[in-house]
C-alpha cells in the first residue's frame, strides 16, 4: 500500500495482515506514517496504490461511513465527540445508524438504555448525572472512553485505536487495559497504534514497527524488543 503527500512518502509499500481476534500493535516514531495508515484503512484518505481487504471484501474505494457500516471502526487520536450532545446521545447517534438498523433492527429496545449499558461497560458511572453531561464537559480520560464506547455502539468486529493511551495518566491507562482485553475476549479484532510501547506490549499479540513510512519489522513483542533495526529507529524512545 502506498500514499504520498506532496512528494513525501507517508506510507511506502506497507503490507501486513491482521488475524481475527488478535491485538496487533503498530508502533513507530512521530511521522512514521501510522495515522496515515489508519486513515487509509478507514477510507479517510485514498490510497495511491494498493488495497485493503476484510474477510474478502475490498475496503479500498469505500467511504468511511460504508467501511464503518461493515463493522470496521476507529477511534480518533484527539477525541472527536459531538460536543453539544450528552454522552448518552453521542452513542445514540451510531445506535440509529443503518448498520445497527440492518443487523438488529427494532429489537434493540430503548436506545438510551442501550447507550447507558455500553457506557457502564466502558467505565462510566451509571448515575443520573455523568452520562447526561455534555461531551464538551468531560475530561480527556472520559473522552477517550467515549470514543471507544461510540465505536462499540456500532457492534464492530474490528476496532482501530489511534493512540488510545496518549494524553492519559499511568493509572488511567492501567484502568483502560482490562477494557481492551475484554473487548478482545468478546471476539473483536483490535489494531492499536501506540506510542506507549510498554503498555502496548503487555497486551498485544503481535507488533508491527514503522519508520519513514516503511514497515521495518513485524513479530511478537519479545522478538521486537530484541530486534536491532527496531532499536536503531527507536533509540532513546522507550
Amino acid at each position: 500500500m502506498n500514499k504520498s503527500f506532496g512528494g513525501v512518502k507517508a506510507v511506502d509499500n506497507v503490507s501486513f495482515n491482521v488475524f481475527k481476534g488478535e491485538i496487533l500493535g503498530i508502533i513507530g516514531p512521530n511521522g512514521s506514517g501510522k495515522t496515515t495508515l489508519v486513515n487509509l484503512i478507514t477510507g479517510f484518505v485514498k490510497a495511491d496504490s494498493g488495497a485493503v481487504f476484510s474477510e474478502g471484501t475490498k475496503l479500498t474505494g469505500l467511504t468511511p461511513d460504508k467501511i464503518a457500516g461493515l463493522g470496521i471502526v476507529r477511534t480518533f487520536q484527539i477525541p472527536r465527540p459531538y460536543h453539544s450532545l450528552s454522552a448518552v446521545k453521542n452513542l445514540v447517534v451510531p445506535l440509529y445508524s443503518s448498520r445497527i438498523m440492518r443487523t438488529i433492527g427494532g429489537k434493540l429496545g430503548d436506545r438510551d438504555t442501550v447507550a447507558l449499558d455500553i457506557l457502564e461497560e466502558i467505565g462510566f458511572e451509571r448515575d443520573a448525572h455523568v452520562p447526561y453531561k455534555l461531551a464538551s464537559a468531560f475530561s480527556e480520560g472520559y473522552l477517550k472512553r467515549l470514543e471507544l464506547a461510540r465505536c462499540l455502539a456500532l457492534r464492530p468486529h474490528v476496532i482501530i485505536m489511534d493512540e488510545l493511551f496518549s494524553g492519559l495518566s499511568v493509572s488511567e491507562i492501567a484502568a483502560m487495559i482490562p477494557l481492551v482485553e475484554r473487548l478482545q475476549m468478546n471476539g473483536i479484532t483490535i489494531m492499536m497504534v501506540e506510542h506507549r510501547v510498554r503498555e502496548l506490549f503487555q497486551i498485544a499479540q503481535r507488533v508491527m514497527v514503522m519508520n519513514f513510512g516503511e514497515k521495518i519489522g513485524e513479530d511478537i513483542p519479545e522478538k521486537i524488543l530484541e530486534s536491532e533495526i527496531v532499536k536503531q529507529a527507536y533509540l532513546g524512545v522507550t
Binding site: 484518505v45 468511511p64 476507529r74 459531538y82 453539544s84 440509529y96 445508524s97 456500532l154
Partner: protein, 288 residues
Amino acid sequence: MNIFIFGLVNSIILALIASGFALVYGVSRLANFAHGALYILVGFATWLFLNRLGINYIVSILLSIIIVSVIGAGIYRLFLIRVKGMPASEIIASLALGIAIMELFRWRGFISEAYMLPPFVKGSVSIAGVMIDWQRLIIIGVGLAMMCSLWLFTHYTKVGLSLRAIAQDKHASMMSGIEPDRTAVISLAIGSALAGVAAVVILPLGNITVETGYMVLTNAIAVCIIGGLGSWAGVFAGAFLLGFAEILTAAFIGPQWQMVVVLLFIILTLILKPSGLLGKQKELEERV
C-alpha cells in the same frame, strides 16, 4: 411600538428566509445558492395549483412544499453529489441551477403583477394602536412555531440527531455509520421545504416575481454571514439584528439607506469577527 412590531415582523421574515439555507449549510457544509429559486418555485407552484388547477389553497401549499423538497433532494442526488467537497463548484453548480429555474419562469412568461397568493386570513387588527394585518401576525406565529419545531426535531428525533451529529463533526459521524450523502439529501429536502414554508407565508404580502428569488438568496446569505454560518442561534441573532437595523434605518435615516446599513453590518462582521456573531472558528484539523 410601530418600530417594535414591524421590526419583529421584518426580523422573523429574515429568519424564515435564512433558516433553510442555514440548515443545509450547517448540516452538509453546502451553500445552496439555488435557495432563492426554490423559494419562488413554491410561490409559482402554489399559484398554479390554486388558480390553474383550482385546488384548495391548503392542499396547494402542501403539494408545492412536497414537490420542492423532492426537487431539493434531487438537486443533491443528481448534481451536487458530483462536485461534493469542492465548495466553489458547489456554489457554481447550485447557483447555475437556481438561475436556470428562475429564468425558466421568466421565459415561460411568469412576469406579471398578477402572480399573487391570497392571505390566509383577511383583514387586520389593532395591537397597541398599531394596525397590523393578520398575515403578518401569522408570519410571526409560523416563524416562532418553526423555530420550536426545528428545535424539537433536531433534539428529539432519530434523523434530527444524525443531522446534528454530522453538523458537529463530519468525520466522527461517518465513523458512527452515518452516510453523509443521505444526510445531505435529507438536509436539502428539509431546507427546501423550509424555503417553501417561508415562501407561502411571506409571499401573500406582495407578489411573486423572478427578482424575489435573487433577493431572498441575498438576504439569506447576509443573515448567515452576520449570524455565523452553521450556527442556529446565529441565524436568529443575525435576522433580528438585520431586521431591526433595517426598520430603524427606515425610521430615522431614510429607507434608501437600508441596503447600505445591511452591507455595513456585513463588512463590520467580516472585519471584527469573520466567523459571524455566533459562528465558531474551524477547529484544527486532525494531524494526518
